[in-house]
């Protein structure tokens, strides 16, 4: 178990280091940062001043190691536009994105686990095919478009929910549903496949032979085993959702981390962009590690 842990941790750290390098390279792709920051009307003297002020006149490797060194202590630099620390900016915006991501994941689990179980129990029936069809439809639905349609229907025509803002829980209903749509197909399919596999196994036959009730067999015996990959994927999906929430935050004007990233890209605010990429990647790496650990705890066979 311990060697499993260390190995996972080493890989996670290596991935984080690679992403860090990529995030740095990414923002240097456009060539001269000082020129882009200064804007189209800047004079040569302005550009030189900016280059000095932001330390861009130093060798690239020095800049890189400086950034890495500071990032390791939690200092992600200063935003060019907001004139505050990037870490503060991200910390301010993170609650909105996390609320959105967790709302989306909970809605997705709430829909896909029952659907997956019912589809597995009625494998091959019309209901099963209908569930698989719903999963396909969900996969093809562009999230930003679904968001706009919900806004027109529930926001404007029915007037049930607010269209934008982050004031109350009602603001997170529509964005949460839209975000959930992106995870529902995968989670439903996985629950269905896991349940079908579990229901065909020997221990279920034993449970049946013992005369256990159908509900007990389904929920206590089959679901517990089918849940292992679902739990793991759910954690990974949360990581994807935090990355994908940039679109939904923009549609619903939720001022989360995704919105911050979008604004910063538009304003050439490089320290913010590279920090958001890094933070989201680290969260994803941490979540996949949690998923692996949960897998190992729930299923001792995986601890090699």
């Amino acid at each position: 178990m311990l060697s499993f842990l260390t190995r996972r941790l080493i890989v996670a750290l290596l991935v984080a280091a690679t992403v860090m390098t990529l995030a740095f390279v990414l923002t240097r792709l456009s060539g001269d940062l000082a020129t882009s920051i200064a804007g189209a009307n800047a004079t040569q003297a302005d550009i030189e001043a900016i280059r000095k002020a932001y330390g861009l006149d130093r060798p690239v490797l020095t800049q890189f190691f400086d950034w890495v060194g500071r990032a390791l202590t939690g200092d992600l630099g200063n935003s060019y536009f907001f004139q505050t620390r990037v870490s503060t900016l991200i910390a301010e915006r993170m609650p909105v994105t996390l609320t959105l991501g967790i709302t989306g994941l909970l809605i997705a689990l709430f829909v896909s686990i029952p659907l997956g179980i019912l589809a597995a129990v009625r494998e091959g029936t019309g209901f099963d095919r209908a569930v698989q069809m719903v999963a396909l439809l969900g996969q093809a639905m562009p999230s930003f478009w679904l968001g706009l349609l919900l806004m027109i229907t529930f926001g404007l025509q029915l007037g049930w929910l607010p269209i934008s803002g982050t004031g109350s829980w009602e603001n997170f209903v529509m964005p949460g549903v839209v975000l959930a749509f992106s995870a529902i197909p995968a989670l439903t399919r996985l629950t269905r496949a896991g349940m079908i596999q579990a229901m065909g196994s020997d221990y279920i036959r034993t449970a049946r032979a013992k005369g256990l009730s159908r509900a007990s067999i389904l929920l206590k015996h089959a679901l517990r085993n089918a849940a292992i990959p679902v739990v793991a994927i759910a954690a990974v999906q949360l990581g994807f959702m935090l990355g994908g929430s940039i679109v939904i935050e923009q549609v619903f004007a939720l001022h989360g981390v995704g919105f911050l990233a979008w604004e910063s890209i538009a304003k050439n605010d490089f320290p913010v962009v590279q920090a958001v990429v890094l933070v989201l990647a680290v969260i994803y790496v941490a979540l996949t590690m949690v998923a692996d650990l949960m897998n190992a705890v729930l299923d001792p066979r995986l601890r090699v």
Binding site: T18, V19, A140, M141, P142, A261, I265, V277, T288
Partner: protein, 288 residues
């Protein structure tokens, strides 16, 4: 049939299934629209006519028969822009998949074939790639380097190779140990020959299925980036861009976003249906 086929139970699979045919018809129609767009458009998709802004489509009262699907906020014919948008979606979907396929298949086959250290490096590359938020990085690259079709295709291609690599790797590993590959080794074939003549043809069907699903994903992502203003540059009529441009008018004329959205949804659904049908037909595995 491929060497790593799994048996499919069930009555209606592959070409016997209605949904595969629906998918094939949608994809076929989209391909015709994409290739013959210049011949099919009733009007110039770029021609503005400010006197005829936001004309309603055919199912609403007061429609202009010259513009079946109405006009947009600049008076451009919506049907023509929709057809041209299909060309752009298909073009980007296919080219992105070619780029990502080349990268992913190369990486995956190498890892699966050679194993050991090389495979460790491949697995690491896949893990790293999965931890990178695709939409954000694509937005950042396009935002920093400027919007252009070529840049968009390269960026998405460099980001979307993960599923190709995963499937190519796992199927290569299975094929590698089969008897006919051992026979080829014994016959004195070179590594390159074993790879290109024995392994690749036997994993090709799986890769075709992945390619279909990846085209759908690339089309969705292109629409998303264009919607956020950092994809296909205006005035090109990308469906995502059409939705973004029409967004300000959607509360008064919902059809302006409904039409391109339905087109996008239908095309992606059609490609996925066809992909699922092909998977059942080949007995391929695409689980990642």
């Amino acid at each position: 049939m491929s060497a790593v086929a799994t048996v499919n139970a069930g009555p209606r699979r592959g070409w016997k299934s209605v949904s595969t045919w629906i998918g094939a018809v949608i994809v076929g129609a989209a391909m015709i629209c994409a290739i013959a767009a210049p011949l099919l458009v009733p009007h110039d998709p770029f021609a503005q006519d400010l006197a005829k802004r936001l004309q309603v489509p055919f199912w609403m009262a007061g429609t202009d028969p010259a513009h079946l699907l109405g006009t947009d906020q600049l008076g451009r014919d919506y049907l023509s822009r929709l057809i041209w948008g299909c060309r752009i979606s298909m073009l980007i979907g296919v080219t992105v998949t070619v780029v990502s396929g080349l990268i992913g298949i190369t990486i995956g086959v190498l890892g699966g074939f050679f194993g050991g250290r090389i495979d460790d490096a491949v697995l690491f590359a896949i893990t790293t790639r999965l931890s990178i938020p695709v939409v954000l990085v694509a937005l950042a690259v396009v935002g920093l380097l400027g919007t252009s079709m070529t840049l968009l295709v390269l960026t998405l291609g460099l980001l979307l190779w993960d599923r190709f690599a995963v499937v190519a790797r796992s199927t290569t590993m299975q094929v590698r140990n089969l008897d006919f590959v051992a026979a080829a080794w014994c016959a004195g074939c070179s590594r390159f020959r074993v790879l290109s003549r024995e392994v690749l043809p036997n994993i090709a069907s799986h890769l075709v299925v992945v390619a279909t699903l990846e085209i759908a994903l690339a089309i969705l992502l292109e629409a998303t980036l264009s919607f956020l203003g950092l994809g296909v540059p205006p005035p090109l009529p990308s469906w995502g861009l059409m939705i973004a441009e029409a967004k300000d008018y959607m509360f008064f004329s919902p059809w302006v976003i409904v039409i391109p959205g339905v087109a996008l949804f239908t095309l992606v659904l059609g490609i996925n249906l066809l992909g699922d049908g092909l998977r059942d037909l080949f007995g391929a595995r695409t689980d990642t």
